[in-house]
């Protein structure tokens, strides 16, 4: 009850007119900058943080929360409308979201993303306020072997969800895994597949690959199709907002996404990408119309969007309870806290309760502000698609290169953008799915590092991988995801409903 009182007081502060104005400005700025691909919430917050220093602590925290959520939502908007994911956790959103937008359902896609983010953000922030200490104790007990099992689970569920041809799906996945090898190996310090090019030593940037495969590959494909693809994109077909069926199909994915996102986000090495993958795979499995997946299924937007927002709140659990910055965004937030002269650590809740509860209250307000601002804007956003095609695609390319240049003004990076764009075109042309490439790039290095850490700690004993109960449960789930459909077939004599092609 004490925490409720503290929270209520925080909300009262945040509701003062001046602070509402700061929340509004923060959300607007965050959305505007976050829309740029390659500039995710972490960079958005880093770039805009100096603005908040001019305000008093309450005002600046609120603006800060607004920028953070605005940056996240901006990334989703770009994913859905322009197929240019602004950050790695909104890559999955682009899969179904952009298909919806092209089919004139951009409005419902943006709306389910916004409402799902709000629902997930609110529930996860409540979780942060009420059960953070319990969650963090569990999260901290995860060892490298448990994370490795989590990666295995992600691999198995995701590969079951992408594409109908095993050969083609695995080919794409292995291309991604190969790209993930590039750069300096964290454990040994050795450069792999870098061929003496210094720009390759840091590896392939996930957003560069995603933007190239999705946006540039798509642009090349449409250009190559020439007159054949000369359909006009209708910005709005049917209702601009969600209809009754959309609501019915969205609310469960929102909740499931939240349940996946919050705990995984709270794990020190969990991240925000894995919950989006898991959510996508799960929704595809549970969907009554799996054939819609790949052609714009609203569940594929609602679930992952809820998952990444819940994960974003989850990241704050170790940050606020233990002072552990477990993501780039959290590290930037830490820098922000230090500007107020406080150092997040295990004692933060005790030493600076007003600021902590102020921040949590600000997150609620920013979240609500985002929803109130953006729902009316959905109609305007989708009009973007009414821009004549030459300018629309020219604009998409300007956008894609701008995001890359803004984060890292390097010609080699731009060169990679073009090369991966061509790869995306070839994959599309010959019916290879795109998403597994990105999945391989994200999950491959994570799985490798965790496995090697686990084996180093156990001095080479592979049994360590099976000695933790958490790891065992996760591995069992992975086996179920992989062989479940086969078992289903054996038992019932029917084929399990496996989804349609992704691309």
């Amino acid at each position: 009850m004490e925490s409720f009182a503290a929270l209520a007081q925080g909300v009262m502060v945040a509701l003062q007119p001046a602070n509402l104005l700061f929340a509004f400005v923060g959300v607007m700025l965050g959305t505007a900058v976050g829309v740029l691909p390659g500039i995710g919430p972490a960079l958005t917050v880093a770039l805009l943080l100096p603005i908040t220093f001019k305000l008093d602590p309450a005002g600046s925290l609120i603006m800060f929360a607004g920028i953070y959520y605005g940056g996240m939502y901006g990334g989703s908007t770009a994913s859905i409308l322009l197929n240019t994911p602004g950050e790695s956790s909104s890559i999955v959103t682009a899969l179904e979201g952009n298909k919806m937008a092209r089919a004139g359902r951009g409005g419902p896609a943006l709306a389910t993303a916004a409402i799902g983010s709000f629902v997930a953000g609110t529930i996860a922030t409540l979780g942060l306020a009420l059960i953070a200490p319990t969650v963090v104790d569990i999260a901290i007990s995860f060892g490298p072997e448990d994370y490795f099992a989590l990666m295995v689970l992600a691999f198995c569920t995701v590969s079951a969800a992408f594409g109908s041809s095993v050969t083609r799906g695995l080919t794409s996945l292995f291309i991604g895994l190969t790209l993930g090898l590039i750069g300096i190996d964290l454990q040994s310090g050795q450069a792999r597949l870098s061929f003496g090019i210094p720009d390759l030593l840091d590896g392939v940037e996930v957003t560069t690959l995603a933007v190239a495969l999705f946006a540039i590959g798509e642009t090349l494909s449409v250009a190559a199709a020439g007159a054949r693809a000369d359909e006009i994109i209708e910005p709005v077909k049917g209702s601009v907002f969600m209809n009754r069926e959309d609501w019915k199909r969205s609310w469960k994915p929102w909740l499931r996404g939240t349940v996946l996102g919050f705990p995984i986000g709270a794990m020190p090495a969990g991240g925000a990408e894995i919950p989006t993958f898991l959510s996508y795979a799960l929704e595809k499995r549970l969907c009554r119309k799996p054939e819609e997946f790949g052609n714009g299924a609203i569940e594929g937007v609602a679930g992952p969007e809820a998952a990444n927002n819940a994960a974003a709140a989850g990241v704050l659990v170790p940050l606020l309870t233990l002072g552990l910055p477990t993501s780039a965004t959290a590290a930037i937030m830490l820098a922000g806290f230090q500007q107020y002269g406080l150092n997040p650590g295990p004692l933060l809740f005790a030493t600076a309760p007003d600021l902590v509860w102020g921040l949590i209250a600000s997150l609620f307000i920013a979240n609500a502000m985002l929803l109130i601002l953006n729902l009316p804007l959905v109609g305007i956003w989708v009009r973007l698609l009414a821009i004549p095609r030459p300018w629309l695609y020219a604009g998409i390319l300007v956008f894609a290169t701008l995001g890359t240049l803004g984060a890292n003004p390097s010609l080699v990076e731009l060169g990679m953008l073009v090369a991966f764009g061509l790869l995306g075109y070839v994959l599309r042309r010959y019916d290879y799915p795109i998403a597994p490439v990105v999945v391989g790039l994200i999950l491959g290095p994570l799985a490798e590092q965790q496995l090697r850490r686990a084996l180093a700690i156990s001095v080479g004993d592979p049994l360590t991988l099976f000695q933790s109960p958490v790891a065992l449960v996760l591995l069992a789930l992975a086996a179920l995801a992989l062989f479940g459909p086969l078992l289903f077939k054996l038992i019932t004599g029917h084929r399990a409903p496996v989804g349609a092609d992704e691309d």
């Binding site: 090495a269 406080l342 700690i457």
Partner: protein
């Protein structure tokens, strides 16, 4: 880094920030005129923050009118360094921010350019390395850890930053100092401070090695125990923690950040730049920034810094060879 709440200093920092944001590009000429600082890291990182803090301090105190920060991230700063060495030869208005991490990266990445090709101006700030163990660990002192290390180096797992970085180098130096083969240390690299800290708090590893500031708050809360720190004397933020030397480990290391000028500038130009940076470091704005960010002032300029730099580079080359990261 201690728990500091200093409203006065914060206000002036805010004023400086406000000024910096309002007047990013002045037009008039001043003492040094235009300056261009390369931050060889992505926006938000440590070197970027250092460069932008310099920008604030130099502009706020009118030591230079127009200071521009350019980010050239990648490969431990060596990409930015290469661009700086090749692109600003003899340019008296070009500066680059760097640090100890760059010394190691130049060696392990076999960088074609190195720090002998720039004109070092001054060391600005620094952090010290510390060893910590979980609160429940049977190891009570650095001597206990050394004993465990001598018994079987493979059984002692160290959590720290990426291989070849400052944390790894420090672990290698410790092993060497106590007579253990540095190639046999069981070093587990983590990509972020939070992740490695979590592995120590969760008791997954024997010990952690990182900059002291990462551990102070945790130690205050009794979640972990700091065994020793790599400074010459005890530090104000953790006065109860002995130094490595006190614990019988002959290792002293500082993870510093510095600023350097372009290659091929004249002695007069170098003197002018050194004077400007000396003034900046002494300014109240800079001192306030250091306090707000929790950066220790380890300012050192002129020949003293160059001698220290040469010593650090030589020692790093030796230890990286010994841990097997360079030939």
């Amino acid at each position: 880094m201690a728990f500091r709440v200093r409203p006065l200093s914060r206000r002036s920092t805010l004023a400086a920030l406000a000024l910096a944001a309002v007047l990013p590009f002045g037009a008039a000429q001043a003492q040094v005129g235009d300056l261009r600082i390369i931050a060889p890291a992505a926006p938000g990182g440590g070197w970027d923050q250092t460069a932008r803090s310099m920008q604030q301090a130099l502009q706020a105190d009118k030591l230079a009118t127009n200071v521009q920060v350019m980010n050239v991230p990648g490969a431990g700063g060596t990409i930015g360094l290469a661009q700086f060495v090749n692109g600003s030869k003899g340019d008296p208005n070009a500066l680059i921010v760097g640090g100890y991490v760059m010394v190691g990266a130049i060696i392990t990445n076999k960088s074609p350019v190195d720090l002998s090709q720039v004109t070092p101006i001054a060391r600005l700030t620094g952090e010290y390395e510390a060893i910590a163990v979980p609160a429940a660990s049977p190891l009570k002192t650095a001597a206990d850890l050394v004993a465990a290390l001598k018994a079987d180096p493979q059984k002692v797992s160290w959590a720290g930053g990426s291989a070849g970085g400052t944390d790894h180098i420090t672990a290698g130096l410790i092993a060497k100092a106590v007579g253990v083969d540095p190639t046999r240390i069981n070093y587990i690299a983590f990509s972020g401070g939070g992740e490695s800290l979590a592995s120590i708090l969760g008791g997954k590893v024997t010990a952690g090695i990182s900059s002291l500031s990462e551990y102070v708050a945790q130690a205050k809360a009794g979640k972990l125990r700091i065994l020793a720190v790599s400074s010459a004397g005890r530090l104000p933020e953790a006065p109860e923690v002995p130094t490595f030397k006190e614990s019988g480990i002959d290792v002293e290391i500082q993870n510093w950040r510095m600023v350097a000028a372009a290659p091929g500038i004249t002695d007069v130009q170098k003197a002018t730049l050194t004077e400007t940076i000396d003034k900046m470091a002494a300014s109240k704005t800079w001192q306030d920034i250091l306090a707000a960010k929790g950066w220790a002032n380890t300012y050192l300029s002129g020949p003293a810094f160059q001698a220290q730099l040469a010593k650090d580079i030589a020692a790093t080359q030796v230890i990286l060879k010994e841990v097997g990261l360079s030939q």
